[in-house]
Amino acid sequence: MPDNTIIPSKDYIDQLDKNSVGRWKNIITARRDAIEAQLFLFEKLRKFPSEDVDIVVFGSLARQEWTTGSDVDWTLLIDGQANIDHRSNAREIGLTLDELEFKGKRLNPPGGEGIFGNMAFSHEIVHHIGGQDDTNRNMTQRILLLLEATSLRGLEAGGDGPCERTVRQILYRYLKGDSNFHPQANEESRIPRFLLNDIVRFWRTMCVDFAYKDWEQAGRKWALRNIKLRTSRKLLFVAGMLTVFSCFKNESLNHDVAPEGYILKLQEHLLNYVHSTPLNIIVWTLQNMGRDEDCLKILDIYEKFLATMNDESLRQHLEELNQETVYQDEIFLACREISHQLQIVLQNICFKEESPLREFTCEYGVF
């Protein structure tokens, strides 16, 4: 792994796009629209956040991949004293969002599973990692805070509010609780395995939940969910995996300081990835590995995916597809082909061709 770290404020795709004259128009537009939507939401909801309470958005809005059909997945994150008003505030936020239109279109509320559109407490997220109390919702919120979350309060107040505090605590917990980083551990290159295991668990949970939702919702929106799982959700997992990979044999993270200082050093390094976006993490990593061609391929594939998601009629078509006839549907098959292309590139990078990433994936990815 190169001896450096991603710069979170930098948009690596934008830089590439300038040289390719609008090759990834949908990706660039989705980013611009997402940032605009975040600011719009902050303006409309600015009375709710405080030093202890944050409104955090997730999903495509946080990944900066906003398309016309995107949901507004949000959580009222509380990192402070309990207060009965938090419940009514969460309710009021939901009601406010129900009434809002962005760019002439009413905003889509979060899904019905209750993971979003609700309150969340930092204590549960930080303390319950694994065990009976680490519910699907808790684990999902925790990992998404690392992989795709944006604090609305942070857009104005700076990056040290409740969301950032919670994120830092989560990372600290993963590092502090990892026997790889105990003082007596050897001096060899280390990766945060505890974190990696939870990221892998999250990815597999998304896959299992795909089947669960199919069962519970009798196949409703199956095609759309399937395409998302194979592309955007898969790339989210890849970005999480690459975040951990960034520690693999990274000379700049040499164990040259006291154990506590080493943990803070790693935490700071990982925070840069948390503050970036999944697509930027993938682009940055591949470029730094000298895999420019694979990087362009992934962007081309993702551009096609976002173009489909941004086309209201195509999206609606996918939403309404009947599971029995889905494999005869040309639009679905075209989308499926996009996901197959992605799978081929990922397999090449991670398994087939000799590279540090292959070494990492083989050593830590499965067993």
Partner: protein, 246 residues
Amino acid sequence: MKIGFSTGSVALNDVRRGIDIATHTKTNAIELSALREQELVPLLRLIDKLQNELSIFEYIAFHAPSKREKLSEEAIVSKLKKVADLGWAIIVHPDAIENFELWKTLGRAVCIENMDKRKATGRTAAQLKPFFDQLPEATFCFDIGHARQIDPTMLEAETMLREFHGRLRQVHMSYVNSQSQHERLNYESILAYQRVAHWIDNSIPIILETPVEQDEVVEEISLAKKVFELVHLDTEEEPQNHQIRN
């Protein structure tokens, strides 16, 4: 080790009593507090009268008003010139600084403190940087309790200490609760502070902002020393016990 209290934490606005408590306990450093604007002029007057009492301290700092009420910024800076001339650190909250040119005249006496979560700025290293850029001579008062409140993992504390290490002039220490109130040091805060103690050299004065009674001063100092027990292994001379000496 230079260690002592802010007069505000042991005697609220009664500076004379604060000095008295410090003199009769094991402290060799003190911070004279004029946190409220109305305390500034009386305290400046008092300094002349207290020269003898203050001469026993190895380190003296002066806390400037945190908020302007009646006085102009120019008037405050001009009054603080007297403190700067004494060579003492003037602890200043970043949000009290508007006209950088004025504060520049105080040179390295200006000692900028990092803030708690209530303040709109000065909470993080990134937010402090513009202040130091504008005041190149300014020094740094690291409030370890504020830093922990902003980020309990202490990463932000470490970032501040790394970024402004060369400017570090003194440390404020207390447990800052979620309501931004200063409390006595506890186990939780000591453990957190130990994580960054290696950044704080033995020569840096520690000013406690913990609200204690006179009979709790010695105990509080020994708690503060626990923060450094793993890094300051060389046994330094104990602060003199003025009560015994006198």
